[in-house]
């Protein structure tokens, strides 16, 4: 827990990691390549599930680095952080440790779309993640550059054309073998950095480019389709050179709300929090962009960039004549830098300076590090299963930007899920999937593997059909219990807490519905209550709580004995009461989708020779995407309901939906696994 475990000091950390590197073995269950948000979550999750795990990264120092913006969460993204935390991931707790400015966005728009968000201290975030990883049992961290992916013939009992067996490092002759490998290479896969007219290989400024070998294996050896995407980062600005009086002050919430369900407080005290500032662009900014266009090769290329995190260049080109927002965000408690959110740019450094000085608050600003653009390869994610495994390669998992997403939270969510499944694969456990009806992680993965991406994918609340049910407040109820019982990635401490919360909420709701008074009596006890009902109608406390202006505290004041034990859940109870009717309405639709998702389509189905009535066009789509369930098939573009019915008839007739690895043999496996785990723990170097 936050207050008890403090990150180890830096010197101890580097000592530990070197020791870990020295102890690296020849064989692991899971190898995770990459130490960003996806990689760290993947490695930690795999180790939690019980796999002996190795994390390989080019530089241990940059593990947990925030490469771009110093913030976590937001609308839609905050939900992902809460869900990762509910599955015992790292980023929620790291955010609580490193946050220096906490806000709940959309506070006035309804709890389903609240967006918990925090500005972070980069140093603290890195510290937390590194300390957490280095103290995770069964997890080893190794510095190195992956030269090659080892691939061999598939296990004939499982679908797939290849099987991954490990990696070869650049500076090590001996390969390291593993049952599964998780690739989280971020922007480093054939990455190229752009600034002005210069281009250099690499995935992040100041770090060595990754080897071309990995890209080659993915494309040539495994035959994976790849695409190219671009992103960018703004220049970092020297704080002292900024005239913050010319910008609008934005204060954090007076009471910071932690991300993690385990934390009652954030590390940063309310009064220690730092403010943000908001300013806007001027016509001068647009002028500089236009003048520098011929010097800007990143913006001239037609590689797909995101529509929602575009550089200032593409913003003013697409929406000319408007002023655009620029947020000036702190980089840390002690940092001398500011991060100008919204000013991502790739023009030459001298033009960057001219541009920012067109903004009044930045008139005398100095640039510490110029902004730049990155272009990188991604693997078309429709080639992945819902477990994030490459369909044609047994044991190979991908997560993060390599799947065409953008954002820390999206990366962390995939990383966690890929890590869990990599561990399951290595330990011969059945793959696990999250449905889009139960989580934003499920929405994210389903969108990726069913629809693919045409631009960097970012989470929005509007992507989740069941937003009303998938709220940030109830992520623990939705995922922690499942994460413990079916997935095995949740600590017993967190599990016990989730059970306590679930039981208390149930008891409290039952108590609320047992307390009944006539409207008249309610009015007497709660003066100012506005109720339209007849005076003799009986109303339960639960029904009353659905009213806008009625809070749980008000009800507890009327029935202190039965309700005050649940005071800590007052906000959650209020939300539950208001949303219940709408969640009930969605329930049927959710069940329908879940039934469809339970009907799996064999991965090796030959759609072209399938003896059912399907158009050639439909066959081609099915063959290309290979949906893993009937549910995903229905959501594919170009698949008609008639085609789904025909497909279903076939699946049903051949009973193929029941083939593949099922959940029925899980119990004995779990015992086996626990024994294995014990044996492993015993053999850990002390």
């Amino acid at each position: 827990m936050l207050t008890k475990k403090r990150p180890l000091p830096w010197s101890v950390l580097s000592l530990l990691s070197r020791r870990a590197a020295h102890l690296a073995r020849q064989q692991y269950d899971v190898i995770v390549v990459g130490g960003g948000h996806a990689g760290t979550e993947a490695a930690a999750a795999a180790a939690r599930v019980g796999a002996e795990t190795l994390l390989v990264t080019q530089k241990i120092q940059t593990i947990g680095a925030l490469s771009c913006n110093p913030s976590l969460g937001g609308v839609g993204k905050g939900q992902l952080v809460k869900e990762v935390d509910a599955l015992d991931g790292l980023c929620g707790r790291a955010g609580d440790w490193a946050g220096i400015h906490f806000t709940i966005l959309n506070r006035k728009k309804g709890p389903a779309v609240w967006g918990p968000r925090a500005q972070l201290d980069r140093q603290r975030y890195r510290e937390f993640i590194q300390s957490e990883l280095l103290s995770t049992p069964r997890l080893t961290v190794l510095e190195g550059s992956v030269e090659e992916l080892l691939v061999t013939e598939p296990n004939p009992e499982e679908p797939g054309h290849h099987r991954v067996t490990g990696i070869r490092l650049a500076n090590r002759s001996q390969p390291i073998t593993a049952s599964s490998v998780v690739l989280t290479t971020g922007t480093f896969l054939s990455g190229a950095l752009f600034m002005g007219q210069t281009m250099s290989p690499g995935g992040r400024f100041g770090d060595a480019p990754s080897s071309a070998g990995l890209s080659h294996t993915l494309r040539e050896r495994l035959g994976l389709r790849t695409g190219r995407l671009r992103t960018g980062t703004p220049p970092r600005i020297v704080k002292d050179s900024v005239d913050l009086c010319q910008a609008e002050l934005h204060l954090p919430d007076t009471h910071p709300t932690p991300f993690s369900f385990l934390n009652k407080h954030t590390r940063c005290k309310p009064e220690e929090q730092l403010p943000c500032h908001l300013t806007t662009t001027t016509p001068g900014v647009e002028r500089v962009v236009k003048e520098s266009l011929h010097l800007n090769c990143h913006i001239q290329q037609d590689t797909k960039g995101p529509r929602y995190c575009p550089s200032i260049e593409s913003r003013v080109l697409r929406f000319p004549g408007r002023s655009h927002q620029v947020w000036l965000e702190p980089e840390g408690l002690t940092s001398d830098l500011l991060y100008p959110q919204g000013l991502s740019m790739t023009m030459p450094p001298d033009m960057q300076l001219r541009l920012i000085r067109e903004i009044p608050a930045l008139r005398r600003a100095e640039i510490h590090t110029p902004g730049y653009g990155v272009q990188y390869d991604f693997v078309c994610p429709t080639q992945l299963s819902p477990a994030l495994q490459v369909k044609n390669t047994q044991g190979l998992f991908l997560a993060g930007q390599i799947n065409g997403t953008t954002g820390y939270e999206e990366a962390a969510a995939q990383g966690l899920w890929a890590g869990v499944n990599a561990a399951h694969w290595a330990l011969s456990l059945p793959p696990v999937a999250l449905s889009r009806t139960e989580s934003y992680i499920g929405v994210l993965i389903d969108d990726l593997v069913c629809r693919g991406v045409t631009e960097p994918y970012r989470m929005f609340t509007s992507r989740a059909e069941f937003r009303t049910s998938l709220r940030p407040d109830n992520a623990d109820l939705r995922l922690t219990l499942k994460g413990s019982e079916e997935v095995g990635c949740v600590s017993s401490l967190r599990y016990r807490e989730a059970v306590r919360v679930r039981d208390s909420l149930q008891d409290a709701l039952a108590a609320l519905h047992a307390l009944t008074l006539s409207t008249n009596k309610w009015r007497n006890k709660l003066p100012g209550l506005q109720m339209s009902e007849n005076k003799n109608t009986l109303v339960t406390a639960g029904e009353l709580l659905q009213y806008n202006h009625v809070s749980f505290e008000m009800l507890a004041s009327v029935f202190p004995e039965s309700l005050s034990p649940y005071a800590e859940f007052s906000q959650r109870l209020k939300i539950e009461a208001v949303y219940k009717p709408y969640c009930d309405m969605q329930k049927k639709e959710i069940e329908r989708i879940q039934r469809e998702e339970n009907m799996s389509l064999p991965q090796d189905l030959d759609y072209f020779s399938l003896p059912v009535s399907l158009s050639q066009e439909v066959r081609e789509i099915l063959d290309r995407v290979r949906p893993s369930t009937l549910g995903s098939a229905t959501r594919l573009q170009g698949i008609t309901p008639a085609a789904v019915v025909n497909l279903l008839r076939y699946v049903h007739a051949t009973n193929a939906g029941l083939k593949g690895r099922t959940h029925t043999n899980q119990p004995e496996r779990k015992e086996e696994r626990d024994e294995e785990r014990c044996a492993r723990n015993a053999s850990l170097p002390q």
């Binding site: 927002q325 959110q341 929005f460």
Partner: protein, 513 residues
């Protein structure tokens, strides 16, 4: 010659009218994702071949009453159902076995060896609109039968496990709603204007949703103009009002299914019952020279040029000391109130020769007859000037001329039930009025589709109310309302994917973060 068919089909329409009242409710439940709560005891029927003129049409019947329908309409006695799955050439009659409607093939599929797994019957008949309508009407008059909803045969087949899909009855889009093909067909069948109207609504709703979503997902970090939500408020209000208006006056589809309510009303002894008898070509109502002969409602179902009409003759309107007759007059007024179309019959001998005075008299008379309607609608009525044979030829022609000239009156027809003079013209006018009330006849029989549309639109309107309810307290729940509205409308116009909403967001707003 005007191609009208005028044939009595006993009280067929009354049965279907009873069904009309319950249909939207049933549809609502079936859209909730519950396997349609339709009692399987219902026997359903529908035209299964394409709509419009064609050589052969297939009418399919499924459910427990199929055998009864077959016996009634193919002149088969209890013991002699045809051998299963063998075509048999029969005279197809109305349900009473009295009138031959057509000669065609009947096929008998006893359960479980049928498409739906239930007892089923197919009638292969000639494809003319009149024949099809007559057979459908006749089926509707068999007890326990009702028209099928779109896709209901397929749904029953799923539910009976005939397609091996029992465990997927939850595949809502496929089973409860239309398949893609059905949806396209339905949309095509709607007159072009209606289709465009729905598409237009769908387009506007998409924009509303996109703007609410943009506000939810981006307004905290981005410059989303303050007015965005106010615009949505206005749009939602307009759409809701527009849909409500549309739902209110657009009952054409239902009329076509249940029969247009045509009521004959007027003063005593104007010749109302004679008109009824003339129209149905048989002495359905007693006629006599005595004023007040007709006291109760006399109903008969007619087919006017392919449109089902439920014709009611009513007691003449006058103050009477007779208790029975007073009750008759009360019923007459009640019937006029519910009428889709009122035929106001006037004895033309009562009209003075002065044209202007005649108009005044007719107007006063109209107001008197239609007074029971909440808003007397003169466009929902025809003036029938009867007994033209009693006027001298020159007077008759003069009156006819005058009536053609005047304005401010509903269409006027000068006829004689005695000599049938002017009857053909009157039928032309009646047909065109009925046609207007039912919509374009060439779109044929997609009235069921339209009934479903109505249910979806009602859901849509209800969902928009949810937006308004939560607009100021919880935008997530308000947005959910717009989303539900769009889903309901999407059942007519096609599903709207989340990606389309995002496309609009990024087109309309500069999202930088």
């Amino acid at each position: 010659m005007f191609p009208f068919v005028c044939r009595g089909i006993m009280r067929a329409a009354i049965h279907t009218r009873r069904i009309r009242g319950t249909l939207p409710g049933r549809l609502l439940s079936s859209c909730d994702g519950v396997p349609a709560g339709l009692a399987d005891a219902d026997t359903i029927f529908a035209l299964s071949s394409g709509h419009g003129r064609c050589g052969v049409a297939v009418v399919r019947v499924s459910g427990p009453a199929s055998a009864t329908a077959l016996r009634c309409m193919a002149g088969l006695t209890r013991s002699s159902l045809p051998p299963p799955r063998k075509a048999l050439l029969r005279c197809i009659t109305d349900a009473k076995g009295k009138e031959v409607l057509d000669r065609g093939l009947v096929l008998w599929f006893p359960a479980p060896h049928s498409f739906t797994g239930e007892d089923s019957v197919e009638f292969h008949i000639h494809g003319g609109t009149a024949v099809i309508t007559a057979v459908l009407q006749a089926l509707g008059s068999v007890p326990g039968m009702r028209p099928a909803e779109a896709g209901e045969f397929t749904r029953r087949a799923f539910q009976a496990g005939k397609l091996g899909l029992t465990e997927v009855e939850g595949l809502g889009d496929l089973i409860h709603a239309e398949t893609e093909a059905q949806r396209r067909q339905a949309l095509r069948q709607m007159s072009g204007d209606l289709g465009r109207l729905y598409q237009n609504w769908s387009h506007k709703l998409k924009r509303c949703l996109a703007h609410v979503e943009a506000f939810i997902d981006f307004s905290e970090d981005e410059l989303i103009e303050d007015g965005v939500l106010n615009q949505v408020d206005t749009s939602v209000c307009h759409l809701q009002a527009e849909m409500e208006r549309h739902l209110k006056d657009e009952r054409k589809g239902e009329r076509l299914r249940s029969g247009v309510q045509v009521v004959i009303a007027g003063a005593t002894n104007a010749g109302k019952s004679s008109l009824l008898n003339t129209l149905c070509q048989r002495p359905a109502a007693i006629v006599s020279p005595m004023a007040g002969t007709t006291r109760d409602i006399v109903e008969t179902a007619l087919d006017i040029g392919g449109f089902p009409v439920l014709l009611s003759d009513t007691a003449g309107l006058r103050d009477s000391p007779d208790v029975v007759e007073r009750e008759g007059v009360r019923r007459a007024r009640e019937r006029v109130e519910q009428a889709d179309l009122t035929l106001v019959v006037v004895d033309c001998a009562h009209l003075l020769t002065d044209a202007q005075q005649a108009v005044d008299v007719l107007q006063t008379h109209l107001m008197c007859v239609l007074s029971s309607q909440e808003q007397p609608e003169t466009d929902r009525c025809l003036l029938v000037l009867n007994k033209s044979d009693l006027l001298p030829e020159c007077e008759r022609q003069k009156l006819d001329r005058e009536m053609r000239r005047v304005s401010g009156l509903p269409p006027v027809c000068l006829i004689s039930c005695h000599t049938n003079d002017g009857l053909q013209d009157f039928l032309t006018v009646l047909h065109s009025s009925v046609k207007t009330l039912c919509g374009d006849p060439l779109s044929g029989a997609p009235t069921l589709t339209q009934a479903r549309h109505r249910a979806h639109l009602q859901q849509c309107v209800a969902a928009l109310a949810q937006y308004k309810r939560h607009r100021d307290t919880d935008l997530a729940l308000a947005a959910e309302g717009v989303r539900l509205a769009l889903t309901s409308l999407g059942r007519i116009t096609g599903r709207v994917a989340a990606e389309e909403i995002l496309d609009i967001i990024f087109k309309d707003f500069c999202i930088g973060k």
